[in-house]
Amino acid sequence: MKDVDVLDDFDIEDYIRQDQMPHFLCPGCGHGIALRALMWAIHDLAIPKDKLAVVSGIGCSGRLSGYVDASTFHTTHGRPLAFATGLALARPDLHVIVISGDGDCLAIGGNHMIHSCRRNLNMTCMMLNNEIYGMTGGQVSPTTSSDRFTTTTPAGNTEPVFDACALAAAAGASFVGREVTLQILALRELLRDAIANDGFSFVEVISDCTEIYGRKNDLGASPEMMMSQKSSMRPFAYRNTVDVPFRPTGLKTGVLAKTDRPEYGKAYRAMTEKLRGKKGRG
């Protein structure tokens, strides 16, 4: 324990691959903060590193798995949930965590995402929403806010915006939550509850892309972006007390949906046991 207060026996250096540092993320990218919150949650739950599997797709978020000192799996674009599904079915003893981006999870892997929610297999999906395809060159993503400029919407985005949490909840995820990176302690708590949940947990982390998105849209540097993200959210505690006119958006943070749907892995294993019994094996 390196500190006097209880919060502080966590040291991020124990959980990252030192030879990979410094990481490749741009200055001020919120993904690093999200990674710290995730590792902190894992530390809180005392999950041993050999029981932790981090799966990620392609994009800025996809690179995060490479920095985690655990079993990690860098997969194809949009398919981390598909790979993770196989992993979680084959190795139910592992804590499977998927790090995905907004384009990765909602556009390219949108179908995998809704079916993962439907199956409710025991894993956690942390979707880092920075409203843009950062690594591939700044294209518009399903969560880019309206009127924002990207390389593929040079005159402003006119597409409607996806609410990832509403989608996940409707598709049947048993735990759905959202938090901004500035509120790292709340984010850590949310991720901790998400990983502890028995079933598919979906956590949307509102992150900031300073270099490619913020700069093009004149949103300021990362501290300004983080502050404005926080102030545009409506915290759980004030959900029913603060009226809409005070908040430009209706986005809510905290735990947004929690259900007791049966976990798929258990049903799957029960079925395999039954079939094995029929054949007279085991």
Partner: protein, 296 residues
């Protein structure tokens, strides 16, 4: 005490939002009205909400012109919180005023301006004994404990009302008849008991300080953290100069140097809150707090 037949009698009631300052002044104002006096009451409570400063001026007599009490003119000052009482002490008549105060301490945020760990709150340092010696007549009660012992901490204001009743010329039965109009039906009995307890305590003699005056009511803001030595380490090779730690440090003690690397420039202001460490996306900052050994 001034004879209320000629000159208005001034009662100033002060406290912290949520304690029941307005309830005390309403009981008093209604009682005076029932005795045929002209009454003016003026209060500030709206912005205080719960936890802010609240005061209420009550003036009664054959004719009252101004609703506020001038400085140095209050016959009775009732303080539901100790430091609030001291703040208004200059309103009390220096030679004849009566000071009735609860010794409960509710430490306001501005008494904790030094946010360093182990820093002391700058709450009123005077002891109740010192203050009571300075006033003409004074009662430093532990109304909160008295009310708690009776079963409800929130009746502390009625305990003080009981003490106030000894300073004004109204019959006890009139007080007892007025109080039930202003308290919830379920708590009438406890409030009447609290009134009796406060009155009994005050009748036992002037210039008294309760033995438990500085007793158990220490607000949580007074709980002191262990004093620590804070070391902020910044790994230059990892810092990308994103400005997050500089802008989001609550004490603003970091700067970007010429090579755009974060640097702790005001280490004395650093409270070791870890904000820069937690929000650094590049894991470049580490904050370590080591306890300072207590001086023997």
């Amino acid at each position: 005490m001034t004879n209320p037949v000629q000159v208005p009698t001034n009662v100033l009631i002060v406290g912290v939002g949520g304690q029941g300052v307005i309830m005390v002044s309403k009981v008093l104002a209604t009682l005076c009205q029932n005795h045929g006096y002209a009454v003016k009451q003026s209060e500030v409570h709206g912005m205080a909400k719960r936890g802010g400063a609240v005061f209420s001026h009550v003036r009664f007599g054959p004719q009252v012109w101004s609703p506020t009490i001038p400085e140095g003119e209050a016959d009775v000052l009732v303080a539901l919180e100790w430091a609030e009482g001291l703040r208004w002490l200059s309103f009390l008549k220096p030679d004849t005023g009566t000071f009735i105060a609860d010794c409960q301490r509710i430490v306001p945020p501005f008494a904790c301006r030094n946010r360093g760990r182990g820093a002391e709150a700058s709450y009123a340092p005077q002891t109740p004994e010192e203050i009571i010696q300075q006033v003409h007549a004074g009662y430093a009660m532990d109304a909160t404990t008295m009310a708690t012992n009776l079963g409800n901490l929130r009746a502390a204001n009625t305990v003080l009302l009981g003490a106030l009743s000894t300073a004004l010329d109204f019959a006890v039965d009139d007080w007892l008849a007025t109080i039930p109009q202003f308290v919830p039906p379920a708590s009438i009995d406890i409030n009447l008991a609290a009134f009796a307890a406060g009155r009994e305590w005050a009748l036992a003699g002037e210039k008294r300080v309760d033995a438990n005056a500085e007793g158990p009511h220490v607000s949580y803001t007074e709980i002191r953290h262990a004093q620590v030595d804070t070391v902020v380490e910044i790994v230059e090779e990892r810092c990308k100069g994103c400005d997050i730690c500089v802008k989001l440090c609550p004490e603003r003690c970091l700067r970007l140097n010429d090579s755009l690397v974060a640097e702790l420039v005001l280490p004395d202001l650093c409270t070791g809150c870890h904000m820069c460490e937690w929000l650094c996306p590049d894991f470049a900052i580490s904050v370590t707090n080591t306890p300072v050994p207590e001086p023997a």
